[in-house]
Amino acid sequence: MIRLDGITKVFPGVKSLENVNFEAKAGEIHAILGENGAGKSTLIKTIAGAYIPEEGTIHFAGQERKWATPKEAKDAGIQIIYQELMLFPELTAAENIFIGKMPRTRFGTIDYKTMYRRANETLDSLGHRLDPRAPVRDLSIADQQMVEIAKALIGETKLLVLDEPTAAISGREAELLFECVKLLRDQGVCIIYISHRLEEIFSIADRVTVLKDGQNVGTHDIHELDRDKLVAMMVGREVNNIFPPKKTPNADVAPVLTVRDLRAPPKVKDVSFDLYAGEILGLAGLVGAGRSEVAHAIFGSMPRTDGTVTLGGEAFNAPTPRDSIDRGLGFLTEDRKGEGLMILLDMAANVTAPVLSEFTTTTGLDRNYEVQAAEDEIKRFRIAVPGPKSGVYQLSGGNQQKILFGRWARACRRVLILDEPTRGIDVGAKVEIYEIIRKLADEGAGVLVISSELPEIVGLCTRVLVMREGSVTGEVVSTEISEETIMHYATAASADAAQGAAR
């Protein structure tokens, strides 16, 4: 159905595609697997006509095509469901389903009656009921995904691409999605399914292509592969030795951070845990389970309605980020460019931002002292940056992340909350980040690692909390830690819990 030959796409400073060959057939589910930053998104945007590759050719339905705009690809029968859903919140579900090809009356106006009827039929055929007249903003994420899939059904869709469709939905909703996808495959649609969850791939895909650092590492039938082979293809080396050795912290002393009955509606319902100095504690769960919100509620960047927090033995309630920082609690957020890095400022200013008062004298900011502090962090974390006064925008994700580690490790020594600390950085830098995390714990900080990468949680943590829908549903210790047990707590409880959970 689609064949890519020698596709190369270059961005200034951003990882891209290099000479990628790829082919997917009608009536198959073809999974594309790869770590964050491996080039998956670039690949699908190239297929979608949103990016124009520098080199290479695209054959679609037997013809060579060069898309100039997404519209051309769409008209040819390519439907993409992006990770961030491309819906219009103020338009109704039906209008979103028919966007660009709404049925018309003989006067050329939009035929709402027909549109709503057909939208209903389409959604019914997916076995999913929702009100086609409801504005999309009122729908749940799972419903919104169904709207995207319904879009694929009403057009002459030959190729459907799903980008990480299960990132934000829970187990049962995912099952439903898989059924729909298989239904479409059986109707002869070519489906490209992008994910980094191995379990899913084995339950749904017919063939798998692995991308790594913008290159195609290989395409295989699913039954030629097992988990280990896939992982080895993805990371390019044995998984075991990328993590530093684990150390069990001394649990006899009082915990450095205790959290009891934390509530921060709507995402955080009931969270309690202890964190010990020197410990690396994992916080796992599906996207949307409320993990980041727990961090925000503790740090004080999101209001909490209930619960007690003690930091180093002192009660620490109703804080602001300022209070948290002053007491030695730091928070490295998941959105590195949106919430962490200050791209307009130089490296030194990025390091000192949380503790400016330390660098303030009667005559203003002590720039020399600041530069010197930044130099120290460059040496300490081996940051590949020309100097403290150089910009941070052009640096690789790994080096940007190290700067943020410099910022928070310098400012806060008691507790560090790290939200997705290795998102979007390459494997080599990941190994270094893991070593840094280990070192910070060894120096006496309590570290809470939030991550969607289960191997990372498994490889790094001595204890793991699992969250589901705002509550901690399980705690896994030492040898019990595995991806299976974590996934069990993250999803399995849903069967009985969902009965009671009124939507």
Partner: protein, 322 residues
């Protein structure tokens, strides 16, 4: 081939950066050269003093506007505030120069309140800055006209004329005032930790909050600074013009924004220096002067202003995209 194109983009990026970096000095030199070519006496000490005297009130407004734009805002109420402050000054009906400090103090106080309201509307009510300040503009205008019933009356101490147009040892008084304000604000913005907080907030308010900076307070403070500077500028401009009407400073809101944009203060926030903003004011006044000495109608200034702001903003917008 891909490497070549990547290098090419890099090269244009560098050229754009260079153009951006030196656009202000290049523009200044080019304008002075043009003006001298048209009118050889342009560089006479007297004319230079005149130009600086004309620039000072605008430059004072520009300094304040720069703070607001740096935190991703915009203040369209500055001109209306300038006129309101001038009307306020006449309200004292003072004749003695002794009253001048009191007039200044009350003008600054009123301006600060106006700035505080602007800032609170933007931060606490989440009103978009242009709308909040546009509303403030018309509210001030209404109050001012209602008070004066259309025609201001009341007298001003003689000293204002000296402040607005006088000279000390050949240096215009308002230029001295500007220099003092500039020194203070430049220290605040470029040397103090508060200045760093402004850049962090303007660059990205979300990350500012997450490093413990109260971006809301920083932003509100910038609105207050802007209004206070506009108030001070209003008094100096009133002294320069010598009379008070309801439209003192008319058009200064756009002039100030244009000056900031030419001077490299990015409308997207977090980028630009006070030096650039002040130079932008000087560039604008030079352009206005060239329009006059070339014998063009005064209104041509408006046309040129409109063209410049679109082009200057486009130049910097492209540079940021790259």
């Amino acid at each position: 081939m891909s490497e070549v194109s990547a290098k090419a983009t890099e090269k244009t990026t560098q050229q754009m950066a260079l153009l951006r970096q030196f656009s202000v000095p290049i523009a200044l030199v080019a304008l002075v050269a043009t003006a001298t070519a048209v009118q050889p006496s342009f560089l006479s000490p007297n004319n230079i003093q005149d130009i600086l005297t004309q620039t000072a009130p605008l430059a004072l407004v520009v300094l304040g506007q720069a703070f607001v734009i740096l935190v991703r805002g915009l203040d369209l109420s500055v001109a209306s505030l300038m006129a309101s402050v001038a009307v306020l000054a006449t309200a004292f009906n003072a004749t003695s120069n002794v009253m001048i400090p009191l007039i200044f103090a009350s003008a600054i106080l009123v301006s600060a309140v106006v700035g505080l309201i602007n800032g609170l509307l933007v931060i606490k009510r989440n009103v978009s800055p242009f709308l909040a300040t546009l509303a403030m503009m018309i509210v001030l205008q209404g109050i001012r006209f209602y008070y004066t019933q259309g025609a201001p009356s009341g007298s001003l101490p003689e000293g204002f004329r000296f402040l607005g147009a006088g000279r000390i040892a050949g240096i215009p008084v308002n230029v001295i005032a500007f220099t003092i304000c500039f020194a203070g604000l430049a220290w605040l913005l470029h040397k103090s930790s508060f200045g760093r907080k402004i850049y962090i907030t303007g660059g990205n308010p979300a990350s500012a909050d997450l490093v413990g900076i109260r971006s809301d307070r920083v932003t509100i403070t910038c609105y207050v600074i802007c209004s206070v500077m506009a108030g001070i500028a209003g008094l100096f401009l009133m002294g320069f013009v010598g009379t008070v009407d309801n439209w003192v400073g008319r058009g200064y809101e756009l002039d100030a924004i244009v000056a900031c944009v030419i001077g490299g203060i990015a409308l997207t926030g977090g980028r630009g220096t006070l030096w650039g903003a002040a130079a932008g004011a000087l560039i604008l006044v030079l352009i206005f002067n060239i329009v006059i000495i070339m014998g063009l109608p005064v209104q041509a200034q408006m046309i040129i202003k409109g063209i410049i702001i679109i082009f200057a903003a486009a130049l910097f917008a492209k540079a940021i995209q790259a």
